[in-house]
Amino acid sequence: MSQMPPNGVKNPLLELQDVMFVGSGKELLARTNLTLGSGGRTVIMGPNGAGKSLLMRLAHGLLQPSQGRIVAGGNGSAFPRQAMVFQRPVLLRRSTIANVTHALALNGVPRRLRRPLAEQSLERFGLANHSHRPARTLSGGEQQRLALARAWAIEPGILFLDEPSAALDPAATKAVEDAVNAFHANGTKIVMTTHDLGQARRLADDVVFMCCGRVMEHTAAARFFEAPATAAAATFLRGELVLDVPAPGCSTQ
């Protein structure tokens, strides 16, 4: 048991080991050790510019760490299939269904299975009627549902969502939260960021709190919202109304 994960996380799925990121000559992410356990819903919180999106891109493999490494949890296990939903979905200039079948193709799903899987997934997200519409003519909420359907079809082991409902109305936001819970119920690991404290409370199993390019704490959700371990997080939670102002005390860990 030499690889006992920190924070007592069971069944590690993805581990960031001594990960550091430098961009434009600045240290944007300080040395980070983080274990993402399988199954749960991890919500990354923190003020604007804290490095939440950066951490997520590193974990997902969109960015290479300047130092350290990201390994699949457990010894020698393979990386789980991953997907990411961005704040503004990037949709291909194709039909709604072609957006899903293309994701399936990239994941090595055989051609004859792609259409039926895509149709099921669109059905699941209420987009069956829009299958043949150019995807970029869908409304904002529909586009985000398509992004979720595209992720759903490939049955990811881990799903990253970066402020998935920041640009959506309450009904569409509810649809995103329902989708997150459906992925979760299917055994997909959720890692998401949000600036909506209510949403964080509703969804989080555990919280990673970041500030000024540093992971301040990784705490079970119930405890985090009751009594966070760091002063910065406490300030952040108290200041619900001033989310845009960086919380003080980032430097004291």
Binding site: R57, V90, R93, R94, H102, L106, R150
Partner: protein, 233 residues
């Protein structure tokens, strides 16, 4: 107007389906379409590769490609002439003054246009798609067909621009083809030389056909431009 004025004669040439006239039109289309086909086959993947990959001298290649978009047809013709003439490196194939030589010369003219416009279009699209495609597990090489397809409207416009240039140029096909009647005589060379020989009717008839062709190409390009702006794709 009497029945001998060149305009009336030109119209009657077109309307009567004159075989000489239509032979010239057919060869013109064959040569220019073949050149555009070959140039697309090379230029689309080449432009996409330059857009996606970083290599030493990339900036120079892009500058050169952009400059070659304005390559004067007579210079392209001269280069191909030198390569294909008896003493040239490709002289043994005896291609000079054949339609093949004309296709080669026009390919040389069109290739930089298609490659340069493709490079620009794919680079812009990659900027937009990169994170999403990488997130879905697509590397750069796998992204090439995806991007080519998603840029299809812009790329069609690029191919049309190439076709417009090929079908309207006279210098290259004249030098390497020689305007031999029934063999290498195309619309532009016929207009240039028949006018000087006084066959104004034939020149004018071909001029009308060429004008219509170029207008149709540009109208299509315009409509495609509208379409790509309207997200209807």
């Amino acid at each position: 107007m009497n029945s001998h004025d060149p305009f009336t004669l030109a119209l009657s040439l077109i309307l009567s389906g004159d075989p000489g006239l239509f032979g010239i039109i057919q060869l013109s289309l064959q040569v220019s379409l073949s050149a555009v086909f070959v140039a697309s086959l090379i230029g689309l993947p080449l432009g996409a590769a330059i857009a996606l990959f970083r290599f030493p001298g990339r900036g120079l290649v892009i500058t050169l490609l952009n400059a070659l978009m304005g390559l004067p047809p007579v210079v392209a013709g001269l280069l191909v002439y030198l390569s294909l003439s008896r003493a040239g490196p490709l002289g043994q194939f005896g291609l000079l003054f054949t339609p093949t030589a004309m296709v080669i010369a026009q390919t040389l003219l069109v290739l930089p246009i298609i490659a340069a416009l493709t490079r620009q279009a794919i680079e812009d699209l990659w900027e937009e798609y990169r994170e999403q495609l990488q997130s879905m597990g697509s590397g750069r090489v796998r992204a090439i067909p995806t991007l080519l397809w998603d840029a299809r409207i812009t790329l069609t416009t690029a191919v049309l621009a190439g076709f417009g240039r090929a079908s309207a140029e006279v210098g290259a096909v004249l030098i390497v083809g020689g305007n031999i009647e029934g063999v290498t005589r195309v619309m532009t060379t016929a207009i240039a030389l028949e006018t000087s020989k006084g066959d104004l009717a034939l020149a004018l008839a071909l001029g009308l056909v060429l004008l219509t062709l170029v207008a149709a190409v540009n109208a299509t390009a315009y409509l495609l431009g509208q379409m790509s702006r309207s997200r209807m794709q």
